[in-house]
């Protein structure tokens, strides 16, 4: 993630140049495939394709690593929980008292990988689409501007809140706050950080609301114009066709 308060990573690539609506369609198509086809082969194929697209977009390896790191707990926890509680398939007895379900663990792993793939698809759009262009793209899809603004601000504020959390954590540790330990004890120790971030978040929201109002946001009967324009280029029609054909193929293909 860059430090400018957005997920966008500026690079010169065909993925970046593609129309934001086409990229959004790609996200929707891949999500549909991942939700409708519960197959390891298809999930791995999608994951591979998404890694190829991230590399084609010349995104730094750290950005790919960021997604894997963020989902690592899920990749461990979901198969673990499914192996114990799912009741899928024949159980194996471990240590005489514990029943584990290998098939359940596999099912859990598939679920976790599908979630990771969905995140990769979403992040491809976020990493490669400039916020202004993203906003205009969504408006062109006839989504009301206030909704689009709320969405883009929410995205914008995830890194901002993350940065706030980091600064607050530093400030409290500099006053002797110890964060070692685990579980409930750690949560209790983190209260000075969490409360400060919450107050900071509320303050940020309040200031943002006032700043928007002070700049005439929400005035009735005004037709907005946009600095950035998005237009379909011939390449975008080609991408569109490829996405539709590819999605249809992935939805219909029979795999073992």
């Amino acid at each position: 993630m860059n430090n400018l308060g957005t997920f966008y990573v500026p690079r010169e690539s065909w993925v970046h140049r593609a129309d934001p609506r086409v990229k959004l369609l790609l996200v929707a198509a891949l999500w549909a495939v991942l939700l409708l086809r519960q197959s390891f082969d298809i999930t791995l194929a999608v994951l591979l394709l998404l890694h190829a697209l991230h590399l084609a977009a010349r995104l730094p390896r750290e950005n790919i690593g960021f997604i894997w790191k963020a989902f690592l707990p899920m990749l461990i926890l979901i198969p673990l929980l499914w192996s114990v509680f799912s009741g899928v398939g024949a159980p194996l007895s471990v240590l005489g008292f514990l029943r584990v379900y290998p098939q359940g663990a596999m099912r859990g792993m598939l679920l976790a990988l599908r979630l990771v793939s969905m995140a990769f698809a979403l992040f491809l759009w976020l990493y490669t689409t400039e916020p202004g262009v993203m906003l205009v793209g969504l408006v062109k899809l006839n989504i009301p501007y206030p909704w689009v603004l709320v969405f883009s601000m929410a995205l914008h504020y995830i890194p901002a809140v993350q940065a706030l959390y980091h600064s607050v954590s530093e400030a409290q540790q500099a006053r002797g706050l110890r964060l070692e330990g685990g579980g409930f004890q750690r949560l209790r120790r983190m209260m000075p950080i969490l409360v400060t971030v919450m107050i900071g978040g509320l303050r940020m929201t309040d200031q943002l609301t006032r700043a928007l109002e002070a700049r005439a946001f929400g005035v009735k009967g005004v037709r907005r114009t946009y600095l950035r324009e998005v237009r379909f280029r011939p390449a975008d029609y080609a991408y569109l066709a490829m996405i539709l054909l590819g999605t249809a193929a992935l939805l219909m293909i029979q795999v073992g």
Partner: protein, 281 residues
């Protein structure tokens, strides 16, 4: 807490690979000194200061606090000796009352309840915060929140106190009051490092100065010498106090280059007038 000395040896650091923010800093800050840290935005001031309480660790080189390498000491442990006041007071205020906010760090140090109360009362009085002792600090004005954040670190009585732009957002009177408190603490034996962009404040009230540019220390020593140093003077030219610029424009009338305060200007004016009178006679 006795005053703390600092040393760095070939200290380098970068947030991103290939973009060094600190480039081989060798520095000695003696105990008991009061030093302003100046330099343009992005020169590495805050990054350097965060190495002194362990919030950042060197990519290479060493940081020594009282001659001891601190690379393995956790931030919470260093907090006993090194106090750090952050630029934004809202990054630390969370308690339900100003009193509890000030007491937070003291309890982290494991002080007895009696000591916590005594030190809290003393600092609230020093900072004129007693009327706000039971108010929620998050609801106070920005200037008061700034005071609370400084008071909370003051109360911990660290041997080294680092303040990151503590006077931004304060009026001149509050700034002078704060500087009075810092000087008093410095006289009692606390080493102080204060990051600021206010060169008038530096010239008027802070005896020593450390100038940084592009991740390196360009000058370090007595404030007037550092401000007169061509490397510092050139880089910070437009930020120097107006009285310096006035004196520079009167160079042909015999005004010296090292005029940074109104007192300096008065002395230079008297000297120039006497010399002119002497010439006329």
């Amino acid at each position: 807490m006795p005053a703390v000395s600092l040393q760095t040896r070939d200290l380098t650091f970068s947030y991103l690979p290939g973009s060094p923010v600190l480039r081989g800093i060798n520095l000695e800050i003696a105990a008991d000194t009061f030093t302003a840290v100046i330099g343009q935005n992005g020169s590495g001031k805050t990054t350097l200061m965060k190495h002194f309480n362990g919030l950042l660790r060197p990519a290479s080189g060493q940081v020594l606090v009282d001659g001891e390498d601190i690379s393995r000491q956790p931030v919470s442990e260093l907090a006993r000796r090194v106090g750090y006041v952050f630029q934004n007071p809202d990054h630390q205020i969370f308690s339900a009352s100003t009193r509890a906010e000030v007491a937070f760090g003291l309890r982290n140090l494991g002080l007895s309840e009696g000591d916590v109360q005594a030190r809290t009362d003393q600092v609230l009085e020093e900072f004129h915060l007693l009327p706000y002792a039971h108010r929620q600090p998050a609801t106070l004005s920005f200037g008061l929140r700034r005071k609370v954040s400084i008071a909370a670190v003051f109360a911990m009585q660290p041997g080294l106190l680092i303040l990151d732009e503590p006077t931004s957002g304060l009026d001149w009177k509050s700034t002078q009051e704060l500087l009075d408190l810092l000087h008093a603490r410095n006289r009692q034996g606390t080493t102080i490092l204060l990051i600021t962009h206010d060169l008038r404040l530096v010239a008027d009230l802070i005896p020593r100065c450390l100038a940084m540019s592009a991740g390196q220390v360009t000058a370090h020593g007595a404030t007037h010498e550092v401000l007169a140093n061509p490397a510092t003077n050139g880089a910070l030219k437009n930020g120097l106090p107006p009285v310096h610029q006035l004196a520079a424009s009167l160079k042909n009338q015999g005004f010296p280059a090292n005029v940074f305060t109104v007192d300096d200007f008065g002395a230079a004016y008297r000297a120039t007038s006497e010399s002119l009178r002497g010439d006329a006679a």
